[in-house]
């Protein structure tokens, strides 16, 4: 299958804001030090030039198909359908197999695209941050393929957790920099990468989600929407119509937006995002920006919804490193604010149980991040409880990095 072309259907203002006209809330922008302005401008201009450059886009699409392997299957899951109540009660549940990409998550699509853009713009080196090392690994692989240098910033605590993908990033030749600031997790790692971006004029920052200053959120979802564009066509071919619902997990929201974007104006398709409720929303130890009552704040160059602790950004908590983030992407926050996306949550324990269920009953080792959405989706689909519906769950990553963590869980629960 060819990659269907991109169409802009939810543009931000030229300053990079998505504005809720009713509430006047703004999401996005470029909240950065003046030192970053020139570099960001170079990226912004370059991005708009590149996506209009036919040769660049043709090459990029070819490489996404062949190197990243974006043409992954959508398939009916009899097991999940049964689990949610059976076809007669709930219709059918389908999985989009983004876990089958090179590097095993959705991250490689935008990571590779952004790195290719960097090369196109003459940058020599990439700066990025990572939480679950899914983004780190994806960018490292892209940089190796494209001949770019790379510094990966990672919270010192995260660096300890996910040894495989960290090692793989190192094997790709990436330079890994541990960040010991504040919570030693994704948030300070992003801040550190942005700080580096204003110290190294020949380096381009690449973000791991649909977050950061304009044009990053726009760029990541535009490049990443390849997943959704292919899915939309596949689903139509397979089922004959668009899905009734799409469920994705939401850390920053990139995998959610990447698959859902082409459906934003598709009225009959409900879009769901699932956040990590960590140990439970009531415990305060969670990573649910919306579910946990996040407010508008300004961080990492953007205005978005964020979990606050006074005037500072609150610490998030979840066992899924990829969801350990106190904010969400700007366009995602906008879409939530205007009611286009409905938010749900699942706890760490529910996700771990779902991981085991997927391994035992479905035969798949899913990224722990994806297990939050599978759990919440089955619950919600059961609640919807209408036949002849076609539900799509985004299986956004493979679970190799979580194996050690899950073996512990299995031993404890034997």
């Amino acid at each position: 299958m060819k990659i269907p072309p991109f169409k802009e259907i939810n543009p931000p203002t030229k300053d990079g804001f998505w504005i809720n006209k009713k509430t006047k809330e703004r999401f996005g922008g470029q909240y950065i030090s003046p030192l970053l302005v020139p570099n960001l401008k170079r990226v912004e201009k370059g991005f708009f030039k590149a996506i209009k450059d036919k040769k660049f886009m043709r090459e990029l699409n070819e490489e996404l198909l062949s190197f990243i392997g974006v043409n992954t299957p959508v398939h009916f899951s009899p097991e999940l359908t049964k689990l949610a109540g059976g076809e007669k009660k709930i219709g059918k549940i389908y999985l989009k197999r983004t876990d089958l990409h090179t590097n095993h998550s959705h991250k490689p699509v935008s990571a590779y695209s952004c790195c290719k853009l960097a090369k196109y713009l003459g940058f020599k080196k990439i700066l990025t941050e990572t939480g679950a090392f899914q983004n780190g690994r994806a960018v490292a692989s892209a940089c190796a393929a494209l001949g770019l240098d790379l510094d990966i910033y990672v919270g010192a605590n995260d660096a300890k957790k996910l040894a495989i993908n960290k090692d793989i990033s190192a094997l790709h030749g990436a330079n890994i920099i541990e960040v010991h600031d504040s919570t030693k997790s994704l948030l300070p790692a992003m801040a550190a990468a942005l700080r580096a971006f204003q110290s190294e004029p020949d380096s381009m920052y690449v973000v791991g989600s649909v977050a950061g200053p304009h044009p990053y959120p726009l760029m990541v979802r535009t490049f990443g929407s390849v997943i959704g564009r292919i899915t939309k066509k596949q689903f139509k071919n397979l089922v004959g119509k668009d899905p009734s619902t799409i469920f994705s997990v939401c850390g920053g929201g990139s995998n959610m937006l990447c698959i859902s974007y082409p459906y934003l104006k598709t009225k009959n398709t409900k879009i769901y995002a699932v956040e990590s409720a960590g140990k439970g929303l009531k415990t305060g130890k969670h990573g649910a920006t919306i579910g946990g009552g996040g407010k508008i704040g300004i961080l990492l160059g953007m205005q978005s919804k964020v979990l606050l602790d006074g005037e500072n950004i609150a610490e998030s908590f979840t066992e899924a490193s990829g969801l350990d983030f106190s904010s969400i992407g700007t366009e995602v926050a906008f879409l939530q604010s205007v009611g286009r996306i409905k938010f749900l949550t699942a706890t760490d324990l529910e996700a771990k149980k779902t991981f085991m269920m997927m391994a035992r009953k479905v035969g798949l080792i899913c990224a722990i991040e994806a297990c939050y959405v599978i759990h919440a989706a089955i619950k919600e689909i059961r609640k919807i409880g209408k036949p002849k519906q076609n539900h799509l769950i985004h299986l956004c990553g493979a679970g190799e990095p979580n194996v050690a963590q899950m073996m512990e869980h299995m031993k404890k629960n034997k």
Partner: protein, 274 residues
Amino acid sequence: MSKLNNLFKEAKKNKKKIFIGFVTSGDPNYKSSKEIIKEMTKSCQIIEAGISFNTSTSDSPIIMEANDRAINSGMNMNKTFKLIREVKRETKTNTCFVIMTYLNPVKIFGLKKFINQCNFVGIDGVIIVDSNLNSPEEKILINGLSKKKIGYIKIISPTNDDEFIKLSIKNCRDSWLYITSYFGLTGSKNVNIDNVKKMVKRVRNYSKEIPVAVGFGVKTPSQVKQVSKYADGVICGSSIVNKVAEGHKKRLKGKKLATFVSSYVKKLSRGIKK
């Protein structure tokens, strides 16, 4: 005309340069920080008080650590206003006060409330590192502050283009233009005098009037002296904060810590007078 305008105008008249000291407010805690700032009023014509934000995107590790100390000791926007008010009351100093912070603390505190508090406390200028020229918040702040004759200070660096510099000059009409001597983070390198010369020249193309102060990497009295040849003001930050950290590690507190830090600040400030 604002107090900052006046200060630079007077200095220019007298062929003098302005020494500006930066310190993180509440570092290592409220009490010691107050003593430090009180002592600093003796050698700084302007004190920049940093209000910590735990997700700052432009601070060097030295200042990140100061942020952590201040936040952990319970510091915030409100307490900073209280601290500066107390310093002013207790010292009756003439020193100008400038607040340096990020937009999130300001926005959460409330833009209008922030402007009013600045006015109430007698803050002379405001630097908000991540407030972009195009953001709606920036417009509200510039308008609100200028109505109260409080200066709004913008940072420009060697890589910014002329368009950006022109706009920044316009927005800084009640204060000064903050020139960074290099492309990078505060305190991460040494001052780059070549850049300083070039940057001042670029600014002067568009304005003969606007005062320029240079920061980033000025760490010794002789660097202060060198920079003061080209700029109207010299800003020392990371090296002062570093001194606070050093004293704190030596377990100095209150007046003792303040003396330890301010004797260093005094030495730096003499760079201007030599």
